[in-house]
């Protein structure tokens, strides 16, 4: 036992001290955070740039005044100006671009152009498209000569935004965002995949390194093969967990910083949280609506997502993550160790890698499917089968999985990983001392049944 700890220590220390480890550990959360934060920042910063756009119509005035000015774009309708002339001078005239509309637009959907020096933002395009579309629809309706059309139009104008609420056992209602659950499902499934693969492959490389450098002979003359194998697997698992915890702390740290600096301090959180509780009260609703009017809608949306992320059952998620990481990792790492022991160099591993990779790839694909449909039976079964459950179950957990399912999945996982470790140890013991022979699955099966 004492020797195993010496081995674990070496495996851990040599890896944690590597520059690549330190860089990855610090950079990954920053990268993650920037992926989440940057789009929001860009979205919020868009307001700042004011654009003036010239609108020119070809020999008609069907769309005069149709596109209303917004707070960051002004549409100037120009008459008796030729596009060809303005094209050369619009920039010096202070225009961001020219919107050129042909009268065929009513029948030909693409008979409109936005000419500009820069790539126009999606939001602006959508706004123009929507405005024109509405106008064309209105004009087409007008052609039917319906009485009181204007009034009818006003009446049917609606806007819908689905609010998702979840009721837990105690009857309390929580605001959730499916978007966040999906993002988390994806994040966890993918992280699991990465961790199992990266660290499992590290085990394999470590075994091959020891085998090719013949270190293994020296060590096997001091400790048992199983001790060496488990020491390596556990040492690398600790490296993975260290990285994972540092990532969690850094992410929480970054999230806190973002929350306190980027978001305005006028209690957005309380505001959005109070909405569900007061759903039924019309008075309050009006009050809230009035209040929200003061906040930019993007910020409110961001804050809502943020709170939804914070409302996830983090305790359960972290517990499951660590459990599935350890067991899933042990399962795959022991297979990787067995493969590493059976070959003479890394290029030979490929024929063995494919069958190991396939369940992981399937798991990842099912995990992505899980985000669209968390309750599907494929997701359910894949979250039970131990080869895929670490990844698929992690993808399901943000969507509230019944506890009994988690328990069954975990129990199956424990039994399976023990069986895999046991088999891998048998292959490993024979494999590490075999040189110069091309190993096949059949050969490994034979090693598995060796008794001595």
């Amino acid at each position: 036992m004492n020797k195993i700890s010496v081995i674990i220590k070496r495996e851990y220390v040599t890896r944690v001290r590597k520059k690549s480890f330190i860089i990855m550990t610090i950079l990954a959360p920053l990268l993650m955070a920037s992926i989440i934060i940057l789009p929001t920042m860009i979205m919020m910063n868009q307001d700042g740039e004011y654009k003036k756009i010239a609108v020119i119509e070809d020999n008609s005035d069907l769309f005069k005044g149709v596109i209303r000015n917004t707070k960051d774009a002004e549409f100037v309708y120009l008459e008796n100006v030729k596009v060809e002339d303005l094209q050369k001078t619009f920039e010096s005239a202070g225009y961001y671009g020219i919107l050129y509309i042909s009268p065929e637009l009513i029948n030909v959907p693409n008979a409109v152009q936005l000419i500009s020096k820069q790539q126009p933002p999606i939001g602006l395009l959508q706004y123009i498209e929507n405005s024109l579309k509405k106008e064309i629809e209105r004009q087409k309706l007008l052609a039917y000569k319906i009485e009181n059309l204007d009034e009818i139009m006003k009446n049917i104008e609606t806007s819908v935004s689905v609010q998702t609420k979840k009721i837990d056992e105690t009857g309390a209602v929580k605001g959730t965002s499916t978007g966040i659950a999906m993002a988390l499902a994806y994040l966890f499934g993918f992280m699991m995949y990465m961790l199992v693969f990266i660290f499992g492959a590290q085990v394999m490389r470590g075994v091959i390194e020891e085998k090719t450098s013949r270190v293994v002979e020296v060590i096997i003359s001091s400790v048992k093969p199983i001790q060496l194998m488990m020491g390596k697997i556990i040492g690398i698992a600790l490296v993975g967990l260290t990285q994972f915890f540092i990532w969690i702390f850094l992410t929480i740290g970054i999230a806190t910083v973002v929350k306190t600096t980027v978001l305005p301090k006028n209690n957005l959180t309380e505001l959005t949280q109070s909405v569900p509780q007061n759903m039924m009260s019309a008075d309050n609703q009006a009050a809230v609506a009035a209040q929200s009017a003061n906040v930019s809608p993007q910020l409110a949306e961001f804050s809502k997502m943020f709170d939804s992320a914070m409302n996830q059952p983090w305790g359960l998620i972290i517990f499951c993550f660590i459990f599935y990481f350890i067991t899933g990792y042990l399962l795959y790492a022991s297979v990787f160790a067995a493969i590493g022991s059976a070959v003479d160099n890394e290029t030979e591993t490929q024929q063995f890698m494919l069958p190991v990779t396939i369940p992981i790839i399937i798991a990842l694909m099912v995990a992505i499917g899980t985000m669209q449909n968390p309750e599907s039976s494929l997701s359910f079964w894949c979250s039970m089968i131990p080869l895929t459950s670490p990844i698929v179950m992690m993808a399901r957990i943000p969507f509230d999985v019944p506890y009994w399912q988690i328990a069954v999945s975990m129990a199956l996982m424990i039994v399976t990983f023990l069986a895999f470790v046991w088999m891998a140890a048998k292959v490993y013991r024979t494999g590490i001392l075999m040189y110069g022979k091309k190993t096949s699955w059949k050969e490994m099966w034979k090693w598995l049944r060796y008794s001595g």
């Binding site: 020797k3 010496v6 081995i7 070496r10 040599t14 390194e209 020891e210 450098s213 013949r214 270190v215 293994v216 002979e217 020296v218 060590i219 096997i220 003359s221 001091s222 400790v223 048992k224 001392l433 001595g452």
Partner: protein
Amino acid sequence: MALFEAVNVTKKYGDQLALDKVSISVPEQSIYGLLGPNGAGKTTLIRIINQITGPDSGELYLNGKKLMPEDVQVIGYLPEERGLYKKMKVGEQALYFAQLKGLSKAEAMKRLKYWFNKLEITEWWGKKIEELSKGMAQKVQFVTTVLHEPKLLIFDEPFTGFDPLNTNIIKKEILYLRERGATIIFSTHNMESVEELCDNITLIDKAKTLLEGSVHDIRSQWAANEYDLVFDGDVKIEGNGDYNILNQQKEGNKSIIRLKTISSIKTNDILQTVLKSGNLISFNPALPSMNEIFIRVIENRN
């Protein structure tokens, strides 16, 4: 008394016989040579002694008791292909292996300092193995092998990769270790080192023992009635019915002659005939070198 004994050890890899009823007996505080051409089964035997792999049949005894897994603590093993982590620093690596052999960190540190000083490799402590030459790495490995002061030391080809200077240093250390009570088994192709170091040898070929015994006895046995005579000045001898002249050569102002008796003539009678030819300086039975014996034994077999 034998410190280590292997009795009728047999090992098969699949259908291939790697060792066929090989027995060795290694007296305490002696140096035992395992000789044989490549692929003879030496490394297999060494691995079995180290309990890296088990024999199919046969017994192993250490100090008269059956060899047990715990005994690895009193065995030191220097494998043929050096096994060190390339990316690890010399000092850390030596400490690691010492701890795996059961030494405490402090004790390992103390002993490492002593050995690093002795072999003059202290300045390599912070270097990575990949920065060292093959011979340098081998010295490090030698230290890690002997550090826990094992009673039984097993060196698989300890001299390959060393320059003559370092070969000598390692030879000296091996003799010193024996003096301090260690028993040493080593395999080698370097027959010169066998003559210098080994008390006993076993010659294995194709899984079988071909020759076994003390180096001195074996060389006398193979002497085969040959004698070396050295004369002052230029001397020539003719062969007769009792002996043939195998070789005559001049070295400086000496003549060296090798003769082989072909009848049952006594050495006294030979002397009487050759003394007439000139001034005899020395007369020795010609002991064949281990190299010659090795080649002859293997060739005879084929």
